[in-house]
Amino acid sequence: MNAVVNNPVEHFQSEYARLIGELDNDPLRDERKAALERFAATGLPTKKVEAWKYTDVQPIAKRHFNTTQAAPPIDVGQVDAVRFGDLDCHELVFVNGRFNAQLSRLGDTASGISIRSLAAALADSDSGIGARLGHCLGENTHAFTELNTAFLQDGAVIEVARGVQVDKPIVLLYLDTATDTPTACHPRTFVSLGENAAATLVESFAGLDDSSENLTNQVTEIDLADNARLDHYKIVQGGGKNFHIGSINARQARDSRLESHSLALGGNLTRTDINTRLEAEGATVILNGLYMVDGKQHVDHHTRVDHLVPHTNSVETYRGVLNGNSRAVFNGKVYVHRDAQKTDAQQSNANLLLSKTAEVDTKPELEIYADDVKCSHGATVGQLDEDALFYLRSRAIDESTAGSLLTYAFASEVVAQIKLAPIRERLEHIVLDKLPQTEQIGEFV
């Protein structure tokens, strides 16, 4: 056991010292050290920091997460339960942040496609991955990203050569299972698509135990070359006490297209930051999101799109359903830089409050320094539509079913955007399972 320390910075420093002692030939030695120093300078964010005003990370600061404790073994049945039906895919399974080859189903990959665990890439001195990590992290990272850099040990590296279309979706299944003391893992995903390459990546975070108080502090980097296309799905369905902090950081070259779907459907505290830089003309980002929270759950999405050059596009649609005493935060920043004429940026965030004690803080933030742009945004917070409820009830649908039906209809507008049928169907069921009268409305799906 490590010495009892109260201060989270000291705690992470002592965990770091322990980790470093276990690593040989670490290609990231300098980066880790620098990141830890930057982290130590700020500490974990407090509510005084604007970007963390509504999200209190005290529950994380209070827990002294262990970094190196191994996960207990899990069996295939538990993995099957969170797989996406019969989706044919390249799949990497991680348990508490560590790659598990036995549980994974990578399959053969065609030439020009490389999918491997980050641990394997780091161990391979020819991979050069050490020098490339961090390439997509802009200035808008936060203390948790620094922690990720300091502590990362595993994750995935996906590289697709120019002109190659990955035949099957790539699925990263991050499973969390309870440990004796709460543990933290800091996985990193690095995706690089060459010119004209295309891929679909699913990053699914699933909690296997409601008793687990573990933290997943994950970072994804996405590098898209000219005309590359990535469909990215992030699904967080943590156990009742799980903490998830994650960020997706993308750089997009000319005519590239990133379609991001972020679905936060469970866990104690879930925070996802999405930062994308549209660095060349024709770059487009689509941001779709859905969060559904209940009880005392807390979910936070902070998105930032940097339009750096002319003729770049962003379309953002986020929806949230809140019940119980839950809380949701949405902050969508669109930053149109001075040269970014002809930017087309649309953003909307709609929230459905199913209880009087749920709370949402939604803030679109448009910073526009170019004059010839098309930008729109809208944020709404509302209850179920009384007219629609009455209409359904007048058609013999009982009140509870009618409410579920309307809630499902609201949420499914986001889910319907998911092109991969097995994933869409699974999410439809996850959404349905959160609603009363599931059986009655199951027919509508």
Binding site: S394, T401, A409, E443, F444
Partner: protein, 251 residues
Amino acid sequence: MLSIKNLHAQVDDTDILKGVDLEIKPGEIHAIMGPNGSGKSTLANVLAGRDDYTVTAGEILFEGQNLADMAPEERACAGLFLAFQYPVEIPGVNNIYLLKAALNAIRKSRGEDALDAVEFMKLVRERMKLVKLNEDLLNRSVNEGFSGGEKKRNEIFQMAVLEPKLAILDETDSGLDIDALKIVAEGVNAMRSPERSMILVTHYQRLLDYIKPDHVHVLADGKIIKSGDEQLAKELEERGYEWVKQEAAAA
């Protein structure tokens, strides 16, 4: 079938219905006409059970049951149907699935088995013909993007499938072109039976040329101030409401 006695109702503390009396026997068709804002839709909504309307006095008996005790869905199960003046658009809820759920909820409340998909679709195809509903509308979201006329036809189509005992048609004729009006009226006539009663709320005598009412009532300022037969509708068409109001004021 329906007995309304001295019905008073409020919205937001404003009295809208101020003592409505109405008796409807099985098989009868009653037309209710009256100026804008007189309370016709309020009456329809109160009958269907909308809860932002408060009944402050009087009672409504539907087949001997006191409606005040029943939720909207229970009223629907008991055989009441409201064709809305402004049918609501419900994005994301499929039109045909809603209808199936509605029908099966009603059947269940009567102790009947749910119709399976094949039986249901057979019924749907048959009833669609009654109002010449465009098949494309079946699989769209409820009323979403429907034209005004399509919405009204969809209401009558729902009625035809659900086979209520009492149908309240709130201005189903408004917004229909001449051909659509004829088609909808034919659909309604096809649904007429000695057991089924209807209330037609309308501004236009024209509808009553196609659907012959047994009784015509004038609702003004929250009260039925005159009742008669279809001749009354013709007179209203010619002379407006003022003379009826004056007659009522004098009495």
